[in-house]
Symmetry: C3
């Protein structure tokens, strides 16, 4: 289908993304998600055809990274740049944020000429998403009281609960692999824990995956060693979603069993929910000894779960032995990035390029979240972009 | 008044800002300051009307921050971006500046395609403004000798003597609050020291305020505990300005007395001038023990001045009990950002949003300083911008 | 000659830079180098005439600096900005690159919307250039397998072997000084080691200079104290180039002898090749004691070579006593940036502004490398730029 027709079809969606932050996929309607997927894909297509979708002549896209990041940082920068915004990092070390400024004040101080704010805050359970909402409230107040000329939109670049730019990129990847969202119906997807020699990895990816993928009629199996629970409220959301979408959701504790007949395997390490709770408490108390001792215990516990490695033997058990392997990257690859890890080198290598494709959707997903936040009628604006036909590269 | 008429009125100003660095307000004429205020306000209005004032298709705006900053950093980035310049931080840790490069050389090396340089250097008394002038001299030489295609303008983003982007934003705030600069005549403004549990805060804000506000016929009272003197030469400038403008300037040592019948109270902590001198000497000598001992003495001295807190009781003493409270932010708010500080939480809360408005003028003040440095005839260029009618956001 | 004619003349060059990384000058043909020099000069002329050569409406220029840098960082940022790309630093401390990501993966993750990648990696002998080729291979794969919509070009911003943006800027400086490349024929240029109180300076500048300048029929003399050898393979390239170009290349060990009748003296410190080999081995082994002891020995060895300082007495020995002094900056200037160094203060001062001019070509050399990598027919694109006549500054 050509771009014009694809843009035309957006008009059939009843989405409500304008001026709404993108914090959790489960706060968004089916049409909202379809809109983001489709706008992302159209923006990608425009750029691939050397048509610039720049919609800002100036403006800042602030990024607040409270945890390290390469791919999300570059994805955010790419998205902002594509639309014409300049990234300005809010580096808390460089800033006075540590010197007693409140979130409320800082949120306004960085937003006078800002259109979007992207936030990664995934270190503390119960904190990341809360922080984003504090920023959101401050921006609401600033806009209402004429401090800000417009209300910057917020994009969740990973929190303690969800990682929507990741899960939406994953979903767009699946849509491309299977041709349509409809084709995902009845597919078996395993979101599996996997062994990693590290500790304390965020829960946001598996949580984001089960909460989102259950909305498309898939049979989602969440597999992990006993004890490696996710946040219960989000598991409930997945259960509810599965019921509504005509799919299913179950939890199991044997990787080998879980991957049987799977169409898709997403194998990734995370820290148990109750450990993250303890860790957050220790971090808040600055209890270094406690943290060390917790880490030691957890790594010992992890050690017992080395069989949770995705390999060719397990691969063979999947549907026709050729399930799609997914990962948010970087993966802990046995013998490559660690001695023993989430996936064997040969299994990973078979899907390496596919995981790159998967990652490649993220800049466009973020751009689409920005675009739909800022433009009430995305189809109309996209049509203007198409008509304008401005070259991205060249004179 | 509509934009066209406001731009027209700029032509009546006899200002001389083109190719002149903005280092100290007291080096600028009344018309220079009016021009900056008015261009700032017009740029804001243009952006609010979604008209892009971009005047550069490329070019760098270098920033050199020798001290931490959030709001000034973002203000500078926003201003540069609004006009079409890209911020490039001159990070001295990342650079080779510590490896024996002279200021003279570095100033040229970072300026080949640079239009503006913003500098914050407020740590050492007698050094910050001097450093800016060293940079300026180097740029002059580079331009004269064809090293640089144009002479980058310098904006003082806070030095040991003045903080002109702050004081000019404050002045624009006052102009808006009272309707005009003329209406400031006869108003009583108290620039008051206030207690803070920290030590070594720069003198540039109070100095900038008394030197600037005395030019508008106001009755300025500088209040501080004995011993907390500012740089004498700048106090003299304030005295001279007050005389010339038909206002008054006096120094007092009792906050409660000072705020009586005040229209405006700017209550902010700073370190005593003679302490900053000692501190600079110790810093130059890398005398860590000396610095620690100085800090200890100063904090003990500060402790005695806790009654210098702006609160509702003092507020009541002001003109009709409703003086305008001002602060450059972040404030040390008792019970919020510190145990005891510059202002009580309830008093601050009454003016919190107003202090945000005050801060919101800074990006436009900086943009106006850039604009007037780079365009000989601001009215002409602004008219072209208006005529062009380029959208800031949208296609 | 006017711009139109200069652009016209580019068509006579048989260069092959499109989609080719710029890693080593000796991999490039004479016409390739002429093209870069000429495009650089045309881009400079365009900007000087206030004509914007912007050719990208969006897109990233990633920079990877594995060593400190001021001038190259700013040159790269300026070049990218001039063409319309936004610099995004790949800061390895901030990123997850230390957490087991492979170069192959990261290269793709940062490149989804990236047009150019600039890399400085000069710390380890045998590593820097190799790393760039690893990145290049990964990008090739990513582009072939549809991970990347286009293949980002790579510019070597200094490696263990070459520093092509420096040597090409130096060559453009010489071309300007002498009127043409042809006029360089028969000129005597001394690339001389010089004393420095520091240790471990990269070899890439002298290597880059001898490998490049021998291509223009000059008589190149490489002078250094015995033991301070460069990489033998690159010395061989210089010898071969000299033979082909009708010039000469020789090595000597007495600075006073070498500078006799020289037209040009490039006097700069570097670490001996075999020391750099040992240093690399120790660094890889994280042998801190070994590194300390090596440094101590080397500094003692250096101490014996203090007569390798370029001064007025040596200056007098050059052709008519007025050889052109060159340096990549910053120089170790005796009595200025160090007690005893590469050059005396008075000799340096005579050429200080000329070294600034020399440095000023670097942003345009980098821009030309980007431009020729991205546009198959530079003359055609430059003509369009000229015709478009977009103002760089102004409305």
């Amino acid at each position: 289908m050509n771009l014009k027709n694809r843009i035309q079809q957006l008009k059939e969606l009843n989405s409500d993304l304008h001026k709404e932050d993108f914090l959790l996929t489960w706060e968004k309607s089916e049409d909202d998600l379809k809109m983001v997927l489709e706008v992302a894909d159209i923006l990608k297509e425009l750029r691939d055809q050397n048509i610039s979708p720049k919609v800002f002549d100036s403006g800042l896209a602030v990024s607040i990274f409270r945890d390290n990041s390469t791919r999300t940082r570059f994805s955010y920068a790419s998205a902002a740049n594509l639309l014409g915004l300049e990234v300005q990092d809010m580096d808390e070390e460089k800033s006075q944020i540590a010197h007693g400024e409140t979130v409320r004040e800082t949120a306004n101080m960085i937003s006078f000429l800002t259109d979007m704010i992207g936030i990664r805050d995934d270190m503390y359970l119960g904190e990341g998403n809360k922080y984003m909402r504090e920023v959101a409230d401050a921006l609401d107040e600033g806009f209402e009281k004429d401090v800000l000329p417009s209300r910057p939109g917020i994009v969740n670049l990973q929190c303690d609960m969800d990682h929507p730019t990741q899960s939406m990129a994953d979903l767009l990847h699946l849509k491309k692999e299977y041709g349509s969202l409809e084709n995902l119906k009845g597919k078996k997807m395993v979101m599996s824990w996997a062994y990693s020699p590290s500790y304390g990895k965020p829960l946001s990816v598996p949580q984001g995956i089960i909460a989102l993928m259950t909305r498309y009629g898939m049979d989602i199996e969440l597999a992990y060693p006993e004890g490696y629970e996710l946040i219960p409220e989000i598991v409930e959301i997945a259960q509810k979603n599965a019921k509504q979408s005509g799919g299913s959701f179950k939890i199991s504790h044997d990787m080998t069993e879980a991957v049987k007949d799977a169409d898709i395997v997403y194998a990734k390490s995370w820290a148990p929910f109750h450990i993250m709770q303890q860790r957050t408490a220790l971090l808040k108390a600055s209890d270094k000894e406690g943290l060390k001792s917790l880490e030691k215990r957890c790594l010992l516990e992890n050690e017992k779960q080395k069989e949770w490695e995705y390999d060719n033997a397990k691969m063979k058990l999947t549907k026709e032995g050729k399930a799609l392997y997914m990962h948010c990257l970087p993966a802990d690859i046995s013998g490559v990035s660690c001695k023993e890890g989430e996936v064997t080198a040969d299994t990973f290598e078979k899907f390496r390029i596919k995981t790159y494709h998967e990652a490649g959707f993220k800049p466009y997903i973020i751009a689409a979240m920005m675009f739909t936040n800022k433009f009430k009628n995305p189809a109309k604006t996209l049509n203007k972009i198409l008509k304008r036909g401005l070259k991205r590269k060249g004179v």
